[in-house]
């Protein structure tokens, strides 16, 4: 039976806890607090109640009729874009914020790339009456200015990060530095299945509601499991959320990374396809690096995939061959973006558009049943797509 991570936070040889000493005690406290609520019905009741009444779960599993006709196989969309705040990120935010409250923390901090996790964190902070600080790369603040305004409107402080590539990686560095300074009253609400143990496990558990619902729904509709599940992979939270409940089933799982301008150009964010292993932000994982171990500056049209690493559990699932990792370039993602908008009236987030676009270049056989995790909606990306597609 699949039962990972182990007691030290490892998925095979990935994961662990590579953090400054000062953070070890808060991490151990967090792990203890999380282990305590794991079997606490009260906790999961509050969690599930908020997911239902506030987030709007369960999200529909929608049969994309016209898209299916074009592709020659049946495509179901798991509609995480219909979650409150427009993406799956909020599932994890609710879980961690409830836990932070239980731990007596009065302040939460988070990093954000596209701004979806920042918005979800700011939302949950205002819902539960917690102070909130969001770190965001200056480059991302330009790419996603509406989300910056949203966060401010929700009462969060947004701190621009101007170091390095000025994107998600640097925002995490800054959030870690804040946490190490303010551990007494602050919980660091990491938005993906990365970071030191217990984060990759905890975020996976909170996100796996996606896969549990999808399983129930597809069994209801099709009376059998799907042949494929496809999801985009940045850090990997939406994909692990939908994959996890299917790990022991006979279902092919495909993660789609951000291929940027193509792997040969080095301007991409496909960490697994890139094959290097390293340690950053607290865990050992597939990680894109320069010569001598500095971290590579990545690129993707989608800010949410623009990260040099990928969660330790994905790294493990790649090595054991349970999940197949592919990539979609910016162009393929833009095709997915346009096709879904035109054929189904659903404008996807650029992240999710990678999974949709992949369907058009994949080798999925005709007649298959495919679930795509539509992790977020595309409103936040309209500026970028307008520029890229030269719309007037």
């Amino acid at each position: 039976m699949y039962n990972l991570p182990d007691g030290r936070g490892y998925f095979g040889e990935y994961g662990g806890r590579f953090v400054p000493e000062t953070l070890m005690e808060p991490l151990l406290q967090l792990e203890e607090a999380y282990n305590k609520v794991k079997d606490d019905e009260d906790f999961w009741q509050s969690f599930n109640k908020l997911l239902r009444d506030y987030v709007g779960r369960p999200t529909p599993l929608y049969y994309a009729n016209r898209l299916s006709e074009r592709l020659g196989f049946k495509v179901y969309l798991k509609r995480e874009d219909l979650c409150h705040t427009g993406a799956h990120k909020i599932n994890n935010c609710i879980g961690q914020a409830l836990l932070a409250k239980r731990m007596g923390k009065s302040r939460i901090i988070a990093e954000t790339g596209a701004g979806q996790h920042g918005v979800a964190t700011a939302t949950v902070a205002s819902l539960l009456g917690l102070r909130c600080t969001i770190y965001m790369g200056e480059e991302d603040m330009i790419r996603q200015k509406m989300n910056v305004f949203r966060m401010k409107l929700l009462g969060a402080e947004v701190i621009p990060v101007s170091s390095g590539n000025r994107t998600l990686k640097e925002a995490i560095n800054s959030a870690l530095r804040d946490w190490v300074t303010n551990i007494d009253d602050t919980h660091y609400l990491i938005g993906s299945v990365i970071g030191p143990h217990p984060y990759p496990m905890m975020v996976r558990d909170f996100q796996s509601v996606i896969g549990r619902e999808a399983k129930r729904q597809i069994l209801d509709i099709e009376k059998k499991l799907p042949d494929y599940i496809v999801a985009c992979v940045g850090g990997g939270s939406n994909s692990i959320g939908i994959f996890y409940p299917f790990l022991e089933d006979d279902v092919k799982l495909i993660g789609v990374e951000g291929g940027g301008l193509g792997l040969e150009t080095k301007k991409h964010a496909a960490s697994i396809s890139n094959s290097q292993i390293g340690v950053l932000h607290g865990c050992r994982m597939y990680l894109m690096q320069e010569e001598w171990g500095n971290i590579m500056n990545t690129y993707s049209i989608s800010a949410g995939l623009d990260y040099p690493g990928v969660g330790p559990e994905h790294s493990y699932l790649k090595d054991i061959g349970r999940v197949r990792y592919e990539y979609a370039t910016d162009d393929v993602a833009l095709k997915g973006f346009e096709e879904l908008s035109k054929s189904e009236g659903i404008i996807p987030a650029l992240e999710s558009a990678h999974a949709v676009g992949y369907l058009f270049v994949s080798d999925i056989p005709k007649g298959s049943i495919v679930i795509v995790n539509l992790s977020g909606r595309g409103d936040k990306d309209l500026d970028i797509v307008m520029r890229e597609m030269k719309y007037e």
Partner: protein
């Protein structure tokens, strides 16, 4: 490792505590770095050299900036090893310790890292993002190179004991909750951490993170076995002349004496 142990013994014999200045490899330039180390070696009992890394999460703005500049100057671990190899031809007595993030060790491979380190006369390493729980990754391969573990004001007594058990030269005591960078006072928690270590072990302790003035150092004489000064030195290298750096180091060094 022996050079480090000797440095603590000698300081004790001289009624002083160890002075451990820090500088960043390749900062402000590769050539200037060599000159600066020569000055620092005149005053430091042990010299700590930071190897630049793109994502220094334990460091405050001063060392972050120095690290960025050093990377732009082409500094990396390979060049730091080359530098040390040459340095050891003229100086076989100053203990040299590298401070570097774990990914830099991981990149060339832990075994290979310690093999080279031992061959060229590196005395110890400080890996700020490698807690004792991850010690299995490095401990079996260290040979005669000391791994200097960090203990922090937040470290529990249970974990402190594990840190003490794996330490063979000194323990790097982090005096504050936070990142590197000068602060005005020595924290009470920092002093308490030293006391907690002294209660269970004779292993030397050195306090770092936030120290900058001779007054702070004087107040620590008799309490701790060594003091580490980093960010303030980087700041002075950026703003001032070599002679001003020398005056500053001289002042700090004299503050380490019990007399």
């Amino acid at each position: 490792m022996n050079r480090i142990v000797n440095a603590f013994n000698k300081a004790k014999y001289d009624n002083r505590i160890c002075f451990i200045p820090f500088c960043e490899f390749g900062y402000p330039s590769l050539e200037r770095f060599s000159e600066i180390v020569d000055i620092i070696c005149r005053y430091g009992d042990i010299v700590e050299i930071g190897i630049p890394f793109s994502d220094p999460i334990a460091d405050g703005p001063i060392i972050q900036k120095a690290s960025d500049i050093a990377i732009r100057n082409g500094a990396n671990l390979s060049k730091a090893f080359e530098w040390l190899y040459k340095f050891r031809k003229n100086d076989d007595f100053t203990p040299i310790v590298f401070m570097l993030y774990y990914n830099l060790v991981h990149y060339i491979g832990v075994k290979e890292f310690f093999r080279i380190a031992k061959d060229i006369g590196l005395d110890g390493v400080i890996i700020p993002d490698l807690p004792i729980e991850e010690s299995d990754n490095v401990y079996p391969y260290r040979d005669s190179v000391s791994i200097i573990w960090l203990a922090s004001v937040t470290t529990s007594d249970v974990r402190l004991k594990k840190i003490v058990e794996k330490s063979d030269s000194f323990i790097y005591c982090v005096s504050v909750k936070g990142v590197t960078g000068p602060r005005d006072e020595v924290s009470k928690d920092g002093l308490d951490l030293i006391r907690r270590i002294k209660n269970i072990s004779h292993i030397p302790t050195a306090l770092g993170f936030g120290l900058k003035s001779k007054e702070q150092i004087r107040s620590l004489v008799g309490i701790v076995d060594g003091v580490i000064v980093g960010s303030e030195i980087i700041r002075i290298i950026e703003d001032s002349s070599d002679s001003e750096l020398e005056i500053y180091l001289k002042e700090l060094k004299s503050a380490t004496s019990m007399l």
